[in-house]
Every structure is written in C-alpha cells, then in structure tokens.
Symmetry: C2
Subunit: 346 residues, 2 copies
C-alpha cells in the first residue's frame, strides 16, 4: 500500500467548491499521520471557460494523468451553453481516462427523508458503463436551426466494452453476500445493442455459477426501484440507463445529497475520478446549504480504490452515525464537514 496520496482536485462549478472543501477536510482527518497527502487544484469549469474559452486543455489533461486519483465536485453552469462543460470537461475526463466502471452504491441510511424510509434492506450498487453507449458523442445535425433539421445521436456498443464492465459487475456480485446481478437494458426495442449486452451477460455468467442473474427492461426497472428496491443487489447497465437509474436510486434512498460515485479505471492505467452524483446546483451555490455528504462518501470510495479500506469504512460509519443523529435542524455545509471530520478522527 502506498503511503502517500497525490490527489488532483477539480472543485468545478456551483456547490462543487463547497462540497469538495469538506471532502478534503474529512480526507485529511481520516488519514493516518504517516500517509502524506498532496493535493493540486485544477481550475476547470465555468469560470475558466468564461475567462479563456478553455474546457480542458491538453496540458492539463496530461498533468492530471500523473495523479493517483481525482476528486471532482460538480460541473455545469447555466451561464455556459448546455453540454459545453459536460462534454468538454467531465465526459472528456471519463473517456480519456477510460473510466469504464462508473460505480454508484445506493443504500437507505436510517433516519433519511426517503419516501421509502423504514425499509432497511435497500443496499445495492449500480455498475454503470462509462465509456460507450449513447454517451460517445457520435451524432450530428444537418440544416441546423431550419424546419428541415435532422439530428442524430449514435449509441456505440462493443463486445470489448460490454464484456469488461459485465465481468467487473459479476466480480462485485460474487463478493457480496446475496450474489445477485441484474442486467438492465431495453433489448425489446434497442435490439442490436440490447442483444449484445444480453449475450455477453449470459456468456460471462457461465463463469460465475454462484451468481443469480436477472434481466429487466429499463422502464420496468424504474418501477421496481420505487416498489421493491430490496430486490436489487448489483445492477449492471449502459451509460445512459445508468445515469437515469442512479438519480432515481438516490431519490428513493437518502436523496441526491448522499449519492456517491466513482469513475474507475480498474487497470490502473489512468487515475480514477470520484464525484458526488449530484450536479452543481447553482440555485444554492455559495450559501453553505449544500450537503457535502455525497462528496465525503465519494472520498470513501476513493480511499477504498487506493487500498485504504479501513479508512473508507471509518468514513462510511461516520456518515451513518451522523445521519442517525440528524433531527431536521439545518446545518451548514461546513458544519456537516466538521462533524464528519471530528467523527473520523475521534
């Protein structure tokens, strides 16, 4: 285990700045004294784009490559045309660093404001593909802005890309007590991509006889997320369905303020990137109202990825304890960060 962490930090836009500050606070507090933590901040996002027109210059992409991991706050601002920062920065990082595992755990913590509160058995993880599908940016438009406009978006799916994420999901299912894996797609309509996924899902499953498998169309899956989320253990799905399902998962568990994620390159060839699932929430930015818990939980995923499993668990326990004591009294972003930092170092 490396006893130093060289971390790139991209606070980004809106509440990204505030929540990342708390994530770093908790990270510093949880790390043993002998672990050297180095951080380097990258000024990327709306401010930078307005100032220079840049989203992610090559030199910075190159420099980011050298870090052990990346902590990201949130990307996107209404002052920037929709898509510019998302495609030019966030997705560019996910694709350039081959983050093919987009890991998004969902757990119903006690004492949360979920409409499904009181159902303690919700504990699943979505393994969202991160480098293919409708997210590849393969589309275009013709006669743009005229009544004769045509616009396309192409979902690209490869056996190579699907197999590696499906295999990762089987490994995760195999390592969990329930050993259950659900594939979510829409193979009754998107038959080419859907059948590719299903064929590979079934084939790889041969190697994991202990894992119980299941297939759901994405529309049916949303129903079960609301009516029967306990049925899920590990879910594997494509980039777009994973985007949709993980916001929904957050909504039915503790809310988007608690949803963490890791964009993981399991080969270690490139640094993995950890970020809350929520967006930049410009409406509450700068007011100290954002809940930094999702970022703090993303730091736990980051630590586990870098081999600090014990420290990751300490953060998760601290969050569970903090949530259990919440009584509805509003606390600032900073106060929640302080409380979590105190718990993990205590």
């Amino acid at each position: 285990m490396s006893r130093s962490i060289d971390l790139a930090v991209i606070p980004g836009d809106g509440i990204g700045q505030e929540v990342v500050a708390q994530g770093l606070k908790v990270l510093s507090a949880v790390l043993p004294q002998d672990v050297k933590l180095e951080t380097r901040k990258y000024d990327l996002g709306a401010r930078r784009w307005h100032a220079t027109g840049e989203t992610l210059p090559d030199a910075e992409l190159e420099s980011l490559k050298g870090h052990d991991a990346i902590l990201l706050g949130a990307i996107g601002d209404p002052s920037v045309p929709s898509g510019v920062l998302e495609r030019g920065l966030l997705l560019k990082l996910r694709f350039a660093f081959d983050h093919f595992i987009n890991l998004r755990p969902s757990k119903l913590f006690p004492n949360t404001a979920s409409p499904l509160a009181g159902r303690p058995d919700i504990d699943f993880v979505v393994v969202r593909e991160g480098t293919e599908g409708p997210y590849v940016g393969n589309g275009g438009s013709l006669r743009t802005g005229t009544p004769a406009e045509v616009a396309t978006e192409v979902s690209l799916n490869t056996a190579y890309g699907v197999e590696r994420v499906v295999r990762d999901a089987y490994e995760r299912a195999q390592a969990r007590p329930r050993k259950k894996l659900t594939l979510v797609h829409k193979n009754n309509v998107l038959v080419h991509a859907g059948h590719l996924w299903k064929r590979i899902f079934d084939a790889v499953g041969q190697e994991y006889p202990e894992v119980t498998t299941d297939y759901l169309h994405v529309d049916a899956a949303t129903i079960f997320f609301v009516t029967q989320p306990e049925r899920f253990d590990v879910i594997v799905t494509d980039n777009l369905f994973g985007d949709i399902l993980t916001d929904l998962a957050a909504a039915v568990t503790g809310g988007i303020g608690l949803a963490a994620s890791g964009n993981i390159n399991p080969t270690g060839e490139f640094p993995s990137m950890f970020e809350p699932v929520h967006g930049s929430a410009p409406d509450i930015a700068g007011q100290g109202k954002a809940d930094p818990t999702a970022t703090v939980l993303s730091v736990a995923l980051l630590l586990r990825h870098l081999g600090y499993a014990e420290e990751a668990a300490r953060i998760e326990e601290a969050v569970a304890a903090d949530l259990a004591e919440r009584d509805g009294t509003p606390r600032t972003t900073d106060a929640i960060g302080d409380a979590l930092a105190a718990r993990v170092s205590g």
Copy 2:
C-alpha cells in the same frame, strides 16, 4: 359526431386477452343505445407468430387502417425472442400509423397503494413522442456474437417530428388550468438531439405566452417524479425518455395497473391506438388476477378521441369511485370489469 364505432381489437399476449375483454365490456355498457359498436378481433402476437411466423402481415396492416380506432391489450411473450413482437407488431403499428402523440396521463387516485399516497395534487400528462428518437430501429451489429462485435442504435430526430409533438403539448398545456409545460431531455450530453428539441421547444413557446415552461434533464426529472410530482402539469419528451418516465409515473401514482395510454395520430389520417402502459405479465396470465383498470381507462381515452367526451368522463368517474371503495379484498379481472360496467351504465 359519428354514431357508430368500428373498432379493431388486438388482445395480444398474456393478460392482454383478459384485460381487453373487460375494456370492451365497459365500452358496451357506456355507449348510448343509438351508437352502433362493431368490433373485429385481430389474432396477432405470440400465438400467431409461433403458428405462422408472422408478426403483422401487410394485408392485416391494410385492414387495420380502415377502422376508427384500435384497442390493444399487450404484446410480448418470453417464448418469442425479445424484440420480435415489439418491433414487428407494436412498434410497427405505431410507426405505420404515424402515432406521433403517445399520450400518458398520470393521476394519483385516492386510496391507491402509491408510496406517495395522500398527495392529491399529482395530476400530469406525459406527451411522449411516438415516431422518432432511439425507437426508429436504425441500428445494426457487425461481427455479431464474436469478441469483436460492434452494435449501434441511432436516435433520429427531425424538426418536423419534434415540432408537431411539441406543438400538441403546448395546446394541451394551454387547455389545462395550470398551463405549465416541461421539456425533458438530456441536452447536456445528447447535444445534437437535445438542442434540436430545446430550440423548437423555445420557438414554439413564443406562440403560447400564457404557458409557463421549464426544462429538466431526464435524470433530474426522475428525482422530481418521486420527491415532487406535483410540480408537473404537461411533460413533453422523446420516445425513450417517455417510455421510462411513464412507467415511473405509474409506479409513483396508482401503480402500473392503472396507467392508460393513447397512441394518437391527431390528423385522423390513420386510426389511433389505445393500450394500457403495462406489459403482457406472463407470470399472472390466465389467472384472472390482472387489474383491467388501465385498459378501461384507455377506453376512456379512445372515446374522448372519437368525440365521446361525456362517456369518457363517465368511465373516469366510475374508476375513481371504484378505487375509492377498494379495501384490499382481491377481486378477479372479471369482477372489476363487471363493477365498472355496472357503474357506467347505472
């Protein structure tokens, strides 16, 4: 107003048969004596495919064209490869008959098993595009079944197609008390299709100054469906997002057993088609367990489309009254149909 209805009936697969029978029962009961109802059944679906290999022969498609409307139960069976009946029959009808409005109302009836029960203000309608987007069937695969396979799905979007559905949605919003229209897409990632939608949404909105508008990414929309569904009035969205959101809408309101839909060709060039949102539910088929209410409510949409607004309202009132008296005692499909038929004729 025509005083005869020439209806095509496609019961289809699984519970389709049972629920359609109740839909027809209620339809007969609600119609005034002087309206002549003619029905013709089309044997299409899994049984036919197994027997003849046909999904929808040209002659039947041609014959269906001659009816005033189509009532459909459900399509799809595990004994048929996924996609064969969906693409070859259900979607073929929606595309051939240019059903560009896929209308899906959502309402939280009192006394239903929704996790959001007790929130009476949920009453919105999703206007789902029905003839474009990722549903066009434009995709393929190369080196199928090998480790070098590549599979694509192309979402096709045209100004022509988007404008007509957006305009229809504005008309519906304009006619409702709250006059609010929300566009749902994912224009920060699917920038070509998403910007086409957003541009047209904004442009057409100029003609409807009384309608308040709103834009949400599809992932964020799923959160609001769970946490704040009251915020929605009319939603307009693409074919795939509409598929996902309307199953979720059903889950957060009365359940998929109550969700009705109309595949509408507003020009009248082709017959419109009405069907419950739920699938063929092979696990409970033939057991008299299916709730026919979604089909009965689809019959109400059918009647409204054909100009029988008063009869449509009578069905909706009957359903509301029936739901209000439900006490959890299980009733058969047939018993629910009888009860609704009695109410509408009473």
